[in-house]
Amino acid sequence: MMITVKDLHKSFGKNEVLKGIDLEVKEQEVVCVIGPSGSGKSTLLRCLNLLEEVTSGDVFIENDNLTDKKVNINEIRSRVGMVFQHFNLFPHMTVLENITLGPIKIKGVKKDDAIKAAMPLLEKVGLEDKAEMYPESLSGGQKQRVAIARSLAMEPKIMLFDEPTSALDPELVGDVLAVMKNLAKEGMTMVVVTHEMGFAREMGDRVIFMDEGIIMEEDTPDVIFGNPTNPRTKEFLSKVL
């Protein structure tokens, strides 16, 4: 298993946001998470690399338990890439510097080697000509593709995506989804929180419907989108489709 979540609870003060999540993600699997706003999708994703501290339960990345105080969380995070809704590129660095920072500072790769390794990544996301640009001069879609390349530079085994396209103009969504589809085809293990039902249907090995802090239903995209059993899933899908 790449990811194992056992009875995960997360509260913010008195507000319990995750109420017992169990989840397993296999190697090379693409799991899409859908559900209404406020259902805890982002919180779940953020617990998977401990950007949020978990209140109780266990999260394993491969065989390492994140809730164990002795684990080296920084090392585990470098195995888990994360792509945010608002990109979060480093605005004071060029595209190339954004991508090479991690390899240089964390893995101790030499600058020249890091740049050599970064160029194919930029090609992969279709931005090889933007290497020396600063993020402010890129479109949203380009920024998000740089953010993906930045994560990939750490050679992660898992990629987490939190609504990677919802801050984008509609005409820019396609380029980002195309990059994600390629990643999935190459066998990257991915957990994708998304409102793009088309992507979930086409690329998801499994779709998870979350509501009110629990997993209401999970199944193949065919079942979830074609013949969901849970009334809440039906209701949600009737609104968004």
């Binding site: 608002h86 004071h92 964390i106 953010a147 750490m154």
Partner: protein, 218 residues
């Protein structure tokens, strides 16, 4: 022309230039240490550790809540009583600027670091950078740019504050001006020149800062 060269406006200048050296020395060295102190205390003010937070807050509030004149007298006359040895005037002045400006700079640092989008920290941590690395490579460089205008402002304030050290007879610019009119009774001319000398530094600084600020805005 000759009359002008013979006038007090000109004859006070050697005094003021000698004073200027000390004014700039105290301001420069004081702010250098003040910035280090301010950076440490400013980051401490953002700490989740209660003790660190409380201690740094006490420092900031104590120094911002008391007049710098009382602070210099405390350092120069008060502390030696406690320590059992004297502190020379220049050192006392530098310490006064450092600890006083340090408190204000701490607030500048805290505000600038706090103003950086939380997503920057999360992005840094999520690629595997430690807390320290994220601060050093991602948060601090962005925050520092936002600190430049208020730091420049603090420079102007501290520069003017050094004039208060004339009370302990530090030979800074205002004190040297006073020395001159003490002998010559040309108070109007001497003090006019003292003020012009301060303005010669503070006005260009302010103009420059406004330019920097405009550039950071876009």
């Amino acid at each position: 022309m000759e009359a002008f060269l013979e006038s007090h406006y000109v004859r006070v200048m050697p005094f003021l230039l000698e004073g200027l050296v000390y004014t700039l020395l105290i301001t420069g060295v004081g702010l250098f240490f003040g910035f280090i102190l301010g950076a440490i205390v400013g980051l401490a003010r953002l700490s989740k550790n209660k003790i660190i937070y409380v201690l740094s807050s006490i420092y900031v509030e104590a120094l911002r809540g008391t007049p710098i004149l009382a602070q210099i007298l405390f350092i120069y006359f008060g502390l030696p009583d406690l320590l059992g040895f004297n502190i020379d005037k220049i050192t006392a002045s530098i310490i006064a600027i450092a600890v006083n400006a340090g408190a204000y700079i701490a607030e500048i640092v805290r505000g600038a670091v706090y103003s950086i989008d939380k997503g920057q920290n999360e992005a840094g941590r999520s690629i595997g950078l430690t807390r320290g690395q994220t601060m050093r490579y991602i948060i601090w460089p962005q925050a520092f740019r936002r600190m430049i205008p208020p730091l420049g402002n603090q420079f102007v304030i501290s520069l003017k504050d050094t004039s208060l050290f004339s009370v302990i007879a530090v030979g800074e610019m205002l004190y040297m001006g006073q020395q001159y009119y003490g002998i010559t009774f040309a108070a109007f001319e001497a003090l006019t020149m003292v003020c012009l000398m301060y303005l010669a530094i503070t006005v260009p600084t302010a103009l420059y800062l406004r330019k920097v600020e405009r550039r950071l805005d876009v």
